[in-house]
Amino acid sequence: MDPLRLALDIPLREFALRVELALGREVVALVGPSGAGKTTLLRAIAGLQPARGAISVDGDSWLDSTRGLDVPVEERSVGFVFQDYALFPHLTVRKNIEFGRSGQAGLLERFGLAALADAKPRELSGGERQRVALARALAPDPAVLLLDEPLAALDAHTRGEIRGELQALLREANRPTLVVTHDFEDAATLATRVGVLLEGRLRQLASPAELVASPADPFVATLTGANVLRGRARRKGNLTELELPTGELIRSTDLADGDAAAIVYPWEVTLARSPPDDSAQNHLAGVVESLVPVGNRVRARVGPVTAEITAESAQRLGLRLGDRAVASFKATATKLLRQGR
């Protein structure tokens, strides 16, 4: 039986948050745009937000609306890492961590905070604050760990490193863990399973690789970083032809009819100066709108698609902003999804 099971129904201003979820000793990330209900869900599990439904942890019931049971926050066994960390500004690092009474010994050492034990939160860097927040949340040995945007408060340049560190610490904590983030890359790094939340509903819950390989709908595909091209699909021989609003045609080996969206990942797209004579079925010409170096690769926006090519290729092509270029991708790399309304 899964340690954490929940089925919640929370009326929000614009929609109702309805989520069912079961977690083992694993890290599950919830991604989605702001306002999708991610933070509300975490707060409801912690008991900070009124909710209807049921929550049980290791067989103990924390919430059961049918029986009128609603255990108060302080009697639920949750560790909560708040957005911006919410460290007590008037207490030292040590006092922050020992605030939850049944403090475990050696946490300061395990989190590399021994040298900072007597520092006040305002003296710490973003990464150090995050470690204090996590150590404080884990100190009372909670049954469930909840993290709200744990990386959002960090600078872009420290974020990657701290993400790796957090991944290791969460794995070590080894308990049902829910992480809320709006960034798919963060989610894919930290979690074994990722749930995509939109307007209060869980659109898809799967491993990061599965979400990329077979997104349930165009929204999930967009979130995982895919190019999404909407149009009207119709069969053309063995293939499907998708007509974009611009009149351009995109071919796919998937079958579809009517309103549909073509999904193609940036790493499946190649760039050229002029239409190449190759096996790729799809060629979209356009102006280079952006060129962003990402490590040893370059993300280039050409017309309606983003391509990810090696920095070497980008240099060889000598692409500059405003140049005309052609983006090519194969029909076999182009997935078709029926348009979600």
Partner: protein, 274 residues
């Protein structure tokens, strides 16, 4: 034109400053300092000082003890009628103290609303030291509660939530997180309220009377000595000035401290400056 206006503004500031400070200085110039100290040692002044300290201390202690949790409940609570409750608390602030005195009289006096009940219990309130305490508490508590509500409202709610997830019950959340983080604002409100209570005149005169050694507080003593022994009245006046300066200095110290505290409570959205 610019120079002319700047000149007028500076002259206006100088005039205002002189108008406000000159009378205060005059208090000290009329009589030599030695005589002032001597006058404070005379029975009417000494008795009034004792009555004032005793009644103010009791009233202030009650106001802090009841007002602080009340302000926490109002400041952190989300309930219907919250704005109405705040307005009702502020009402005594805009009432003339004399009206407060009459109001207290018709509530706690022998013929008042609760008078007969208190009479049955053998408690007589009006024209006793209890009446002084009630009058002082009545006029100073709105000032304290209003400031304390603002201080508690200023505490980041995420910190209180964090304390609750760390298994802190309501009292521990209040004592370990809300109270220390609101301390600066509470101190400032407390000092202002105390000063207001010590200076209370109208309500006390009507509700408690002006019996030397029993209900005659320092402001009442000034009024009583005004025609009898002007030096004593003046001496008590200078005592108030010294106390006022002390309160203002304390507020500056507390204020500076509050600022650093509120800086601390600001969310850690940005990384620290390297």
């Amino acid at each position: 034109m610019r120079h002319l206006f700047a000149g007028i503004a500076i002259a206006a500031a100088a005039l205002a400053l002189a108008f406000l400070v000159l009378p205060v200085i005059a208090l000290f110039l009329r009589v030599p300092p030695g005589d002032l100290v001597h006058a404070l040692g005379k029975p009417p002044a000494r008795d009034a000082l004792i009555v004032s300290i005793k009644t103010s201390a009791i009233a202030h202690a009650v106001v802090l003890l009841v007002g602080t949790p009340a302000a926490y409940a109002i400041g952190r609570g989300h309930f219907r009628g919250r704005a109405l409750v705040l307005s009702l608390i502020e009402l005594p602030l805009v009432l003339p103290p004399v009206v407060a005195g009459i109001a207290l009289l018709v509530t706690f006096g022998r013929l008042g609303l609760l008078g007969s009940t208190l009479d049955v219990l053998g408690i007589r309130v009006s024209f006793t030291q209890t009446a002084v305490v009630l009058a002082v508490a009545f006029v100073e508590s709105p000032l304290y509660v209003r400031g304390a509500v603002a201080a508690f409202e200023g505490v980041d709610g995420a910190l209180l939530d964090a304390a609750r997830t760390l298994r802190a019950g309501p009292f521990r959340v209040f004592a370990r997180v809300a109270l220390p983080l609101a301390a600066g604002g509470l101190g400032a409100a407390s000092a202002l309220a105390l000063a207001r209570g010590l200076g209370e005149f109208g309500a006390t005169l009507l509700f408690a009377g002006s019996l030397q050694g029993v209900t005659q507080t320092l402001p009442l003593a000034i009024y009583a000595q005004f025609e009898v022994d002007f030096d004593t009245a003046l001496a008590i006046g200078t005592l108030f000035v010294c106390f006022g300066v002390a309160v203002l200095l304390a507020l500056k110290v507390v204020g500076g401290w509050t600022r650093s505290v509120s800086l601390l409570t600001s969310r850690f959205a940005s990384s620290p400056s390297a």
